[in-house]
């Protein structure tokens, strides 16, 4: 996965979903945890990683770029 969300660290606040310029994240309807539902639309700007208050998100570069 290009965007990893730690289930242990995610506090379900939704900030990542709110701030992502490309609308990548949603909160899972059952667990409430953040998930990169539209990962293919990631621009790897890193804003989610910066703004996540619990450090739960890690953005990796797509294989074609890394």
């Amino acid at each position: 996965m290009q965007i990893q969300v730690s289930a242990e660290r995610c506090n379900c606040c939704g900030i990542c979903a709110d701030i992502c310029p490309c609308d990548v994240f949603r909160l899972n309807e059952e667990t409430g945890l953040a998930e990169a539902k539209y990962e293919i639309d990631c621009w790897y700007c890193g804003a989610c990683e910066l703004d996540c208050p619990t450090g739960a998100i890690r953005v990796c570069l797509p294989y074609l770029i890394a």
Partner: protein, 558 residues
């Protein structure tokens, strides 16, 4: 499901730098005005560059540079095809904007002598001291966000604007799609400011990753398409940019060069002349892109950015600039590839073709009051053709906000035409009602491949005519778009915006029968620059019958 939002005086499309400054200035001009920002993502990180910028280019700083320096430099960079009065208007307010930003908490570091820390982007023969950049620190968008809240600016987020409506040449309001709730929003508005960025998804990147683009991919040409569809005039659409980039990452490559880095070819030869103080000696910095292309075409590529002579301080400065402010994941890219600034050659190349209003000169035609030709419609930032990057976005935003608020005060309430709204609603929801069809990403891929194949340089009449044939087929395919959810419906809207941009670029490129701006508009069938006939704007506009029309207009005061 739908919602109508009434009572809006100033609706601002896009919450980037220009949109935020517009909202603040509208509220300052008319504190009681209802000012709303409608943003595709969030104001907090929305805009061309999610994580901010480390510097502002083209600033007029008393004692260092003058407004006339700026006008001369920008006119020269645009090779005469820019409205000098608009550049002058930006120059005249830029220092006041800088002071406003400073009072809100944006830091502009000072040197040991107490002067602002500035640097020259280019000191070429015909560019003046005004091409001064100023270092900037602080979380710009967080600061602007706070200022908006303080002033009671309303915001509607996660809601891309789908259309701007007008009746008898005057704006009446807009519609947006709330992508999270699947809600169609209609908003009558007395005035509208278009500030939804540039067209970063245009040609296809060599990695094949559709979002591997220079500017934020959410800026998919929405401004140009929204303006075009409501009858606004656009200029310089034939001037298609390609950036010098760190290869594969598509991240900025110019910064190390403006700080003394060298461009070398595969044989280690520096292929650009330098002045005695080490800056690049170019008649125009667009020559740099032509030079990179030439090295590659003539078998001396790949080309590299050489920073091996940088001092430890400069290396630290470059790492700060690349890895923290503009694109934090740039650090990961360097790490993954085992590269280090100051130690390794950094492979560079040209980006795919892109439309960028800020660094480029294409976009909605505005006057010194940021007005377009549609009454009540203003444009600022990358949306407007002004070529004064972030400072231009701030200042034109400031002007647009003030003017739009005044306009709104003088006109009666706005109301939307229900027929127009119904047609638009059907356009947005139809991809969601298809049982089978083409996924938006697939159509986008084919469209952007077409742009790279036929609209990129060298341009020629046969190539551009072929592009028209392909683009017409793709337009028919729009009816077959199938969206799986509201996020996907937004992607379908974006594909249509990119297609509108492609149509405009092809038409404008066919019209300008000369070559200008280096590789930005090189016609193989008209390889020479022809100032006598072509020192004028090519204007594209949708006419009353819904067709694209092309005309030319003189450059006033050029």
């Amino acid at each position: 499901m739908g919602e109508s939002i009434g009572g809006v005086d100033v609706a601002i499309v896009g919450g980037g730098a220009a949109g935020c400054l517009a909202a603040i200035s509208a509220k300052e001009a008319q504190p009681d005005a209802e000012v709303v920002i409608v943003e595709k993502a969030s104001v907090r990180r929305g805009g061309s560059i999610a994580c901010g910028m480390d510097a502002i280019n083209v600033v007029v700083i008393p004692g260092i540079s003058t407004v006339e320096d700026l006008v001369r430099a920008q006119m020269s960079a645009a090779q005469g095809i820019l409205e000098p009065a608009v550049v002058r208007a930006v120059g005249e307010e830029s220092f006041a904007v800088l002071k406003d930003l400073e009072s809100w908490g944006v830091e502009f570091p000072h040197d040991q002598g107490g002067q602002y820390q500035t640097f020259r982007q280019w000191s070429a023969r015909d560019r003046a001291a005004a091409v001064t950049s100023i270092s900037m620190a602080g979380d710009l968008k967080a600061i602007l966000d706070r200022e908006l809240q303080r002033r009671g600016v309303r915001r509607i987020e996660h809601a891309p604007v789908t259309a701007i409506f007008a009746m008898e040449g005057r704006v009446t309001g807009l519609s947006a799609l709330d992508v999270w709730k699947g809600k169609f929003i209609t908003m009558p508005a007395k005035s509208i400011i278009l500030a939804a960025g540039s067209g970063s998804r245009f040609g296809i990147p060599e990695t094949g990753v559709l979002h591997a683009v220079f500017d934020c991919p959410a800026c998919a040409g929405d401004s140009y398409s929204l303006g075009f569809r409501v009858g606004a005039q656009l200029i310089n659409m034939e001037c298609v940019k390609r950036y010098i980039c760190v290869r594969y990452f598509n991240g900025p490559g110019l910064a190390p060069l403006s700080h003394g880095g060298r461009l070398v070819n595969a044989f280690g030869q520096a292929f650009l002349e330098r002045t005695s103080n080490g800056s690049l000696e170019l008649s125009n910095y667009m020559d740099l892109f032509s030079a990179v292309l030439k090295e590659n075409q003539e078998g001396r590529g790949p080309v590299y950015i050489d920073t091996r002579h940088f001092s430890p301080e400069m290396i630290a400065e470059m790492e700060r600039c690349f890895f923290t402010t503009e694109r934090p994941t740039f650090k990961k890219f360097f790490e993954e590839r085992g590269m280090k600034i100051g130690r390794d050659l950094i492979e560079a190349t040209l980006s795919e073709p892109v439309l960028c209003g800020g660094h480029g000169i294409n976009g909605l035609k505005v006057n010194t009051r940021a007005e377009t030709n549609v009454q009540g419609l203003y444009a600022a930032g990358d949306a407007a053709a002004n070529a004064t990057s972030l400072m231009g976005a701030f200042v034109l935003g400031r002007i647009a906000g003030r003017e739009a608020a005044r306009f709104a005060q003088d006109v009666g309430p706005a109301s939307l035409d229900s027929g127009q709204v119904q047609v638009e609603r059907e356009r947005i929801f139809s991809p969601l009602q298809q049982t089978e069809g083409i996924p938006p990403a697939l159509l986008e891929c084919k469209l952007r491949q077409t742009v790279s194949n036929y609209v990129d340089n060298p341009k020629s009449e046969p190539k551009l005519r072929t592009a028209q044939t392909h683009l017409a087929r793709l337009r028919q395919d729009l009816a077959r778009l199938k969206a799986t959810d509201y996020h996907d419906a937004m992607k379908a809207m974006e594909v249509q915006a990119i297609l509108d941009c492609a149509d405009m670029v092809v038409a404008a490129s066919l019209e300008r029968k000369e070559s200008r701006w280096g590789i930005y508009h090189y016609r193989a069938d008209y390889p020479q620059r022809n100032d006598e006939q072509w020192r004028k704007f090519v204007v594209v506009q949708r006419n009353a019958s819904g067709h694209l029309s092309v005309s030319t207009q003189p450059v006033i005061g050029g």
